[in-house]
Amino acid sequence: MRSFTSALSSQAGKIQGLTEEERAHLLPLLRSAQWVEVVGRDAIYKEFIFKDFNQAFGFMSRVALQAEKMDHHPEWFNVYNKVQITLSTHDCGGLSQRDITLATFIDQASLM
């Protein structure tokens, strides 16, 4: 796992990445929710499969609305009933609390 040092971030008002402690606590939870750590970057990934396109896109709509609300957007790809999502925070070059929050929301939205 790439080590991430948020301490290096020097810009004021910037989103802070997760601390090591937070990662140690949160990543296992995410992993158990089937989020995977992406190789080569500090991001998490998960794929969702729905019954059909409509459900997939409905899900995406929900996520989109939330993303707008949070001002934090996912990287995602959709083909028919499949949605692949990668979460990472550009501002801090890695995972931040927003990713965690959004991931949680995404999981819930996928159950609807």
């Binding site: 992993r31 089937q34 995977v36 750590e37 992406v38 190789v39 080569g40 970057r41 991001a43 990934y45 998960k46 794929e47 969702f48 499969i49 729905f50 019954k51 059909d52 459900q55 899900f59 709509s61 989109a64 609305l65 707008e68 609300k69 990287e75 790809f77 083909v79 028919y80 009933n81 692949q84 990668t86 929050t101 949680t104 929301f105 999981d107 819930q108 996928s110 159950l111 609807m112």
Partner: protein
């Protein structure tokens, strides 16, 4: 936001609304649809008299006001309101009381917790704890639970009714259309008793004998549910069939063989190799450990097990909650002859688990799904106990689930608190004085048809697969990658991070039927909208796969 004023619409909301309108949706239809949606949601929410009732709200920003759980869609007719009224009533009652009712209903009909979880969205651990231990549950969630309960009762009685009238039970009745599969079959205690008795008589019954057992078991199961033995349809997914009986016997035989093998492997000198010897006391040293074990466990009471049981050890220490032993009429433990010396028969886990009526809610014993569902309460207790155990016994097959895997057996043990059955026989010959050792020794129970409902096939892959080399991943990945390419828009750039590393095991439902697209997903269990595992490293580089795959996938 309420969105009552147009100005309060967010930009995206506006976009979406316009999109809807432009798609042909008229304002009227939209408003009407909204009304219906709101009604169904309101009814789901309305069943909670007062929201924050004594339970602190943990809902962070993540909790969505509209209930996330898939509340049962109440059918329009008055039936729906009748059901809702019932739910309301239940919500007024003492939660623990109702929990007991629901739990025993689930036991009676051998319903898996999984089903409840899937249709209510409740957390399985929370559900289990609520039902078994009375852990508080918020009204909104209880409403979901009760709604499922009430609806399920209808479904089941319908199933039985249809059976009575010779009607073919409509598939959709029992389950949401969304759900692609039926519940996993589970042996009921009544059937198990019959089977074990038969096993003792004859380990390898003929087809006729098996068919006889099928009849006998189904009859017993119906009786347990209080219905006429001829209404088989009501048993639903728990209907006993000849194949299941056949498998059961095959598994028992394998178990025994394995047990025997274990006995040869790790002989424990202190314990005389005996077949059935329920009263065999543990050897001195073991006994010492054992008693220490017992004294450690404050929860253990003389669980009606009687003296010999205590000697077994396995039972008491693991005593969980009183409620766990609430078998209420389902106390059936077949006698098991433990052969194979000091080692606890592997069967214990499964057989015990199968015996456990009350495990209906715990679902913890399916060997195939070893690390599966363990209620928190049990696990914490077990874990606590485990830590006091010195490792004197080699763990034969540490499934890596650690404590969780131990649970079933121990749990089971104490569940069948009824003293009559010397189930403990199995355990008496266990390896160390510790129940954990005993249970761990039983872990290598690979005999079972591993139809683990808990596992998504892809979950078998450890997350680290992503990071490891691709050589271990076979065709599937490439195929998956190919499909991605084939069906994806060629112009897409950013894409499908499918790479050699990605292994796609998840069964797949609809695939756009293009001439090029190919169903690459194994048709095994299908989980509706459950996210699958797709390991995918970042940079997409699929091109290398195309050539080979194209050939094989060309249609």
């Amino acid at each position: 936001s309420d969105g009552t004023k147009p100005s309060r619409l967010t930009a995206l909301q506006e976009q979406l609304i316009w999109a809807l309108l432009e798609s042909g949706l008229t304002r009227d239809v939209l408003v009407q649809a909204m009304g219906e949606l709101e009604r169904s949601r309101a009814s789901a929410g309305a069943e909670k008299p007062d929201r924050g009732d004594g339970e602190s709200s943990e809902e962070g920003e993540m909790d969505f006001p509209p209930p996330i759980f898939r509340d049962l869609d109440k059918l329009p007719p008055e039936e729906a309101s009748k059901l809702r009224a019932e739910v309301d009533q239940l919500l007024q009652e003492d939660p623990w009381h109702v929990a007991k009712m629901v739990k025993s209903y689930m036991q009676q009909h051998n319903l898996p917790q999984r089903e409840v979880v899937e249709s209510t969205g409740l957390n399985q651990s929370h559900l289990s704890q609520h039902l078994n231990k009375g852990t508080p549950m918020k009204n909104q969630k209880r409403a979901a639970l009760y709604s499922w309960y009430v609806k399920k009762q209808c479904e089941i009685s319908q199933q039985f009714t249809n059976a009575k009238h010779g009607l073919a039970t409509v598939e959709e009745q029992g389950e949401e259309i969304k759900k692609g599969r039926r519940n996993r079959f589970k042996w009921g205690p009544a059937s198990l008793q019959i089977l074990f008795h038969a096993y003792e008589r004859q380990k390898n019954p003929s087809k006729e004998e098996r068919e006889g057992l099928v009849e006998e078991c189904n009859r017993a199961e119906c009786l347990q549910r209080g219905v006429s033995p001829s209404q088989l349809a009501g048993l639903g997914s728990n209907l006993v069939t000849e194949v299941r009986v056949y498998n059961w016997f095959a598994n028992r035989r394998k178990e025994e063989a394995f047990r025997h093998k274990l006995a040869l492997d790790t002989p424990f000198t202190n314990q005389p190799a005996s077949s059935s010897n329920p009263t065999l006391p543990p050897s001195p040293e073991h006994g010492v450990k054992y008693s220490q074990q017992i004294s450690c466990d404050t929860a253990s009471s003389a669980r009606g097990s009687g003296g010999e049981r205590v000697g077994r050890l396995v039972v008491s220490p693991v005593q969980l909650e009183p409620s766990h032993t609430l078998l209420e009429g389902h106390n059936l433990k077949p006698e098991r002859v433990s052969s194979g010396g000091p080692l606890p028969p592997v069967s214990t886990l499964t057989s015990l688990h199968s015996l456990s009526a009350s495990s209906a809610s715990s679902q913890s014993l399916i060997m195939a799904s070893v690390p599966s569902v363990m209620s928190l309460g049990e696990s914490s207790l077990l874990i606590g106990l485990a830590s006091t155990q010195p490792q004197t016994v080699p763990v034969i097959n540490n499934m890596g689930g650690g404590f969780t895997t131990l649970q079933p057996i121990s749990f089971q043990q104490q569940l069948h608190g009824s003293p009559q059955q010397p189930i403990s026989q199995h355990l008496q010959s266990h390896m160390a004085a510790s129940p954990f050792m005993a249970t761990m020794a039983q872990l290598p129970c690979h005999m079972y048809k591993s139809d683990s409902p808990q596992y998504h096939s892809s979950s078998l892959l450890s997350q680290t697969m992503v990071i490891t080399d691709s050589s271990s991943l076979g065709t599937l990945t490439s195929l998956a990658a190919v499909r991605q390419i084939l069906t994806a828009d060629p112009e897409e750039q950013s894409d499908p991070p499918l790479q050699e590393d990605s292994l796609h095991l998840q069964p797949h439902t609809p695939v756009p039927a293009s001439s090029e697209s190919l169903e690459l997903y194994p048709a095994s269990q299908s989980t509706e909208s459950h996210p699958s595992h797709l390991l995918s490293p970042s940079p997409p580089d699929i091109s290398s796969y195309i050539p080979t795959q194209m050939v094989s996938t060309a249609q």
